[in-house]
């Protein structure tokens, strides 16, 4: 199955310490469609997509640490997410995420995004990880499909 990837808010993983920390980068370019609306005459990466970059970075840390045991990794809680500066097209942001705890079904993190020496975003957040089959055993095949797709995606991100 060829995956058409659009909603991915990181481009590359640059550092990974299992169970502990991950660093990723994202390029921002004018051809990203939502920039036309956010904002016209002043394009900047939307704050929630900066958070999404942190969430994705942390999710990869969890997936690799738990060896892709779970299909679903979702944001459970985000706190004190501060937007300190703007990230315009042509910029690149480096996300650093540190795990505070990584357990079987929950994990918590401290994340930060920096561009050209300036902190753009800071956040504290927790994720929850589970398989759909836990609630509905008939979904086991769907879990397997998601996990397979995420393993393929990982191969592209960590190159």
């Amino acid at each position: 199955m060829v995956e058409i990837m659009k909603f991915i808010l990181i481009d590359k993983v640059i550092q990974l310490e299992a169970g502990k920390a991950i660093k990723t980068i994202k390029n921002v370019t004018l051809s990203e469609e939502y920039l036309a609306d956010h904002f016209p005459s002043f394009p900047v990466l939307p704050g929630v997509l900066l958070l999404e970059g942190l969430i994705e970075s942390a999710s990869w840390l969890v997936r690799t640490t738990e060896n892709f045991a779970h299909s679903m990794i979702l944001l459970e809680q985000a706190r004190n997410v501060k937007y300190k500066s703007f990230l315009p097209p042509g910029g690149q942001i480096e996300y650093s995420v540190e795990a505070k705890t990584v357990e079987e079904n929950v994990s918590s993190f401290l994340g930060r995004g920096v561009s050209e020496g300036e902190t753009i975003v800071e956040a504290r957040f927790s994720l929850r990880h589970f398989n759909l089959a836990e609630q509905d055993p008939t979904m086991a095949a769907v879990d397997a499909e998601i996990i397979e797709n995420m393993k393929n995606r990982w191969r592209l991100l960590k190159r």
Binding site: R79, N80, K82, Y83, K84, R124
Partner: protein, 133 residues
């Protein structure tokens, strides 16, 4: 019903823990909001809103954290330090802060150190007393 200083302190500490994501034991009376607890502009606004709700008072932001406007005025700041005028302006606007050590070296970069947890408690103690009377 007047609140004791300790009751005020506990509520202030809870507000700061929530607003700044700080650990309970980091929020000591001497802790500075900016230096020790990592507070920034948006956090100062968040803190003021939360204190207003917690203590049911109106807190004009310039009353609790006035220094920001001060810092850009050339009458008050010269060569990175507060002038005599600047110092007396601070004394007038921020009676809730501890100016003794600051006055000996009124370095503008150190202005942030005036905003301590204790300063907020002092401000609220005074504010709540007048509100009650």
């Amino acid at each position: 019903m007047a609140q004791s200083r300790d009751e005020i302190l506990q509520q202030v500490r809870q507000v700061l823990v929530d607003a700044l994501g700080a650990d309970d034991d980091e929020v000591t009376t001497e802790a500075t909001l900016m230096g020790d607890l990592g507070a920034e502009s948006i956090d100062f606004l968040d803190i003021v809103f939360r204190l207003e709700k917690a203590f049911d008072v109106k807190i004009p932001r310039e009353e609790l954290f006035p220094a920001e406007n001060l810092m850009s005025d050339p009458e008050f700041v010269k060569d990175g330090k507060l002038t005599e005028k600047g110092l007396s302006e601070i004394k007038e606007k921020m009676p809730h802060t501890d100016l003794a050590s600051f006055a000996s070296d009124p370095d503008i970069n150190k202005l942030g150190n005036l905003f301590t947890v204790g300063a907020i408690v002092n401000y609220l103690e005074a504010k709540l007393t007048t509100a009650g009377s």
